[in-house]
């Protein structure tokens, strides 16, 4: 019974995924490309950077990198707090 339910759910989700694949646009032809074209055309004149990915990450979308750095900082602080050696009178 459980297996039958799982199988039906599998078929259901798989059918939805296949439907989505059939509706996908061909590779390399995005529906909206104004932003991509702006980055590709203007990254070299504006920021003088050849690596457009770095131009996006560190300049156009700098806030995103700041958030990533904050996430890493929080993870490091949390792990340091979790694994730090406790003194005897603290427990």
């Amino acid at each position: 019974m459980k297996k039958a339910i799982l199988f039906v759910a599998f078929l259901f989700v798989g059918a939805f995924l296949l439907l989505g694949v059939a509706d996908m646009r061909p590779f390399g032809e995005p529906q909206i490309s104004a932003m991509d074209d702006y980055y590709l055309v203007n990254a070299q004149p504006e920021i003088a950077v050849n690596n457009v990915v770095t131009a996006v990450v560190f300049d156009y979308r700098g806030f995103d990198t700041l958030g990533e750095a904050t996430v890493l900082f929080a993870a490091v602080v949390g792990i340091l707090g979790l694994f730090r050696k406790r003194r005897e009178d603290e427990r």
């Binding site: 003088a48 690596n51 770095t54 700041l66 750095a69 792990i79």
Partner: protein
């Protein structure tokens, strides 16, 4: 894994290789605005060299070589440097690239449009931010790896 680390083969290979790994990580950070990679990726490469040292030599071999407090301080310095670089262009906007195309001074060179090999001293704030984030990531991940392998053990002291 005991405190003595792994076999002499691994230790010998590590002695040869870890400097190369660190050098490659710094290369990835330094050329982040020209080649694939950047601060995050290069920092992770350098941190993997620290992890290799830790695995090969054990926690005893790491004692006296790497100071955990220094790693934490450097990580916070990297984060603050990143924020300070972002605040440099606050006159126009947060994260405004102040130094790009500003002339020869401090990564201010221009780059010809189209396919070219790239100019190392270009990009304005982008290479400096790469260094800040790279410093932050390498020290942060190294501190995490070290404290998870070393600091959780009770018999170790400092």
């Amino acid at each position: 894994m005991n405190n003595n680390g792994m076999s002499v083969i691994v230790r010998t290979v590590t002695r040869f290789v870890y400097a190369l790994i660190i050098m490659f990580g710094f290369y990835v950070i330094m050329h982040g605005h020209l080649t694939p990679g950047g601060g995050f990726q290069g920092g992770a490469v350098v941190a993997s060299a620290f992890a290799l040292l830790l695995v090969a030599f054990g926690s005893a071999g790491l004692k006296g070589r790497i100071n955990l407090h220094w790693l934490q301080s450097l990580e916070e310095f990297g984060a603050l440097a990143f924020l300070a670089l972002a605040f440099l262009g606050i006159g126009t906007a947060f994260f405004y690239n102040l130094f790009a195309n500003s002339g020869g001074f401090l990564f201010g060179a221009s780059v010809p449009t189209g396919s070219n090999a790239g100019v190392l001293a270009a990009g304005g704030l982008v290479p400096l931010m790469n260094w800040a984030v790279g410093l932050k990531v390498m020290t942060g991940i190294a501190a995490v790896v070290i404290i998870m392998l070393v600091g959780s053990r009770k018999e170790e002291t400092e």
